[in-house]
Symmetry: C3
Subunit: 246 residues, 3 copies
């Protein structure tokens, strides 16, 4: 049993964050809210997301799992304006999720979740932590896209740096400690990442978000941010590209 | 002899409505205004349109027929701003329509209308009538486009409903009697239509328009609305898809 | 040695004007400012551009030549907002131009200018001069694009005219002497030009610019306008299409 109402932008944020990595996902629903953990088909990135029932205008649920085509849901939600209310109702009998925007209801067949594995969040020891606004790095990421397909993230005690090294050109974005919200790093760390993944994930982050990035040496990056005020939180994990590390 | 001036948006509305169904059309011009009747190449839909001379800032005409490439005219009118005046002059000697926007005149060769048949508006007895604002149904139509290629329109004594049934998903848009401007229907009627035609026709309707839709059982739908205030009126007819009725 | 700071829109204007004709160009830099002369690969059009150091917020330079990939620079500058400051620094050791927008620096490898010829501006005697605002002719040029691939420019003592003659349709844009800023023409002159070049060049002209066009009979057109207030000036030259002149 699941029946909830929220604003369109709350659901759009969530669906954008998830659909960046997967087309289909298993949503775990209980009395406290919605959670979801998914790994992209190439097993390079993971999203771990929780949204409290407090992010909803109304929320009634018993424990259940819903396999949802997030790509289709994303497309449908584009018809809704930001503040428009969205109703979600699980039709258990017909195995559907009914999503209502205005006068229009889309009845989406649920996907069988039997084959969907529950990925485990790896236990990572990441020595550096960088806190910044998403806006601070978006220009640097966009500039990188035409230069190469990988990007290096570096943190030192004094600065955080993005470097994208192409065959002829280089893009560099350096934020000193005082340009960051916080920087907690003793020894220099550096890891290389696939730019397309990193870029898509950063594009899915809602505007004005504060990000916490955890970095190591040739290690995955862990990126945490809140959604819906503080009523939800997201962790993205992205595997490094070891082979071409310098 | 034909020479007229109007606002760009008046002509844009007209051309959008017509070019949705045909690339070329025969415009019948007389002292009272312009009229046009055309059937799309697949003979699935018809447009019947009248625009009074009162919709023009100036209007001088004797009886004539002009074969016009409405796709080209549509493209040219995109250069004009909404309120910009447009001059139309029939150059009889050179068999051209000269259309002037600002300092620019496009001299369009007229198309030979000899082979253009004059379609007859079929005499239909459609028992149900639904009156609504175009905005009420546009979300439902857009949501349907990703689900299937046909759409069912239903009217009962209590509501009007659009249903689009796909292989796995369904879109439903239901407007109760009090959400409509008017509903005049004794027994339930339902017909199935090709979605692409219906969607394109609804997209050509000017914003804020009030539509009268006339429906029967496995029968064409007739859609009427005004243009240019009350100075013009349009009737769209769309044939049903009988084969896959429920 | 070259190091300068300017507003993003100043540099965007310059790069748009140049990248319309070439992907790579040799910038000649001295104490007074930047200049550039380039011919498109098909040798149909030329651009000759000067930008004074007064167009910069800060400017330090010794004589040097920089081979720049203007297509790449154009792409990078799209990340900058109109008023955002841009820093340019020539890194002589690494043979790079470093361009900084906000926190992001793109380090662009310079192109070898050895093979880049220095085109000479031909000495042309063009009897007619037409002065007008770019806005006056943009509608006529856009309307022409769907009609033919060449365009005729005509000047007489009384008017300036653009005519684009297609197989069936014609676009005509006529500006009488009092619709122009100035018209200086004794005998009628007319030349035919490739529309795509002319259209692209006119699109690169900054909005609100005043153009001086110099015309002859089956002769190139010379188009002059200022950029960055009066702190820069541009000359475009476009060769005529003789073969199909009428």
């Amino acid at each position: 049993m699941f029946q909830a109402r929220t604003k369109a932008d709350t659901l759009k944020e969530l669906v954008t964050i998830v659909s960046t990595l997967v087309d289909e996902a298993k949503f775990t629903i209980d009395k406290e809210g919605i959670s979801l953990r998914a790994v992209d088909p190439a097993h390079v990135a993971m999203v771990d997301l929780k949204l409290s029932k407090d992010a909803f205008d109304s929320y009634e649920a018993e424990d259940t799992e819903l396999g949802i085509d997030v790509a289709k849901l994303d497309q449908f939600l584009r018809l809704a304006k930001a503040g428009e209310p969205i109703d979600l109702i699980h039709d258990e009998e017909k195995r559907r999720l009914n999503v209502t925007v205005g006068n229009t209801t889309k009845k989406m067949s649920l996907i069988d979740t039997t084959g969907m594995s529950e990925p485990k969040v790896p236990n990572l020891s990441l020595p550096a932590k960088v806190s910044l606004k998403i806006e601070e790095i978006s220009q640097g990421i966009k500039a990188s896209e035409s230069v190469s397909d990988h990007i290096a993230l570096t943190a030192t005690a004094d600065f955080f740096e993005i470097i994208c090294e192409g065959d002829t050109d280089q893009v560099q974005m350096k934020l000193s400690k005082d340009q960051l919200i916080a920087l907690d790093c003793e020894d220099k760390v550096k890891s290389l990442f696939p730019l397309e993944y990193f870029s898509n994930m950063m594009r899915a982050v809602p505007p004005q978000s504060k990000l916490d990035m955890f970095l190591g040496n040739d290690y995955p990056v862990k990126i945490e941010f809140n959604i819906s005020g503080e009523k939800g939180n997201v962790t993205y994990l992205l595997a490094p590209r070891i082979e071409s590390g310098d």
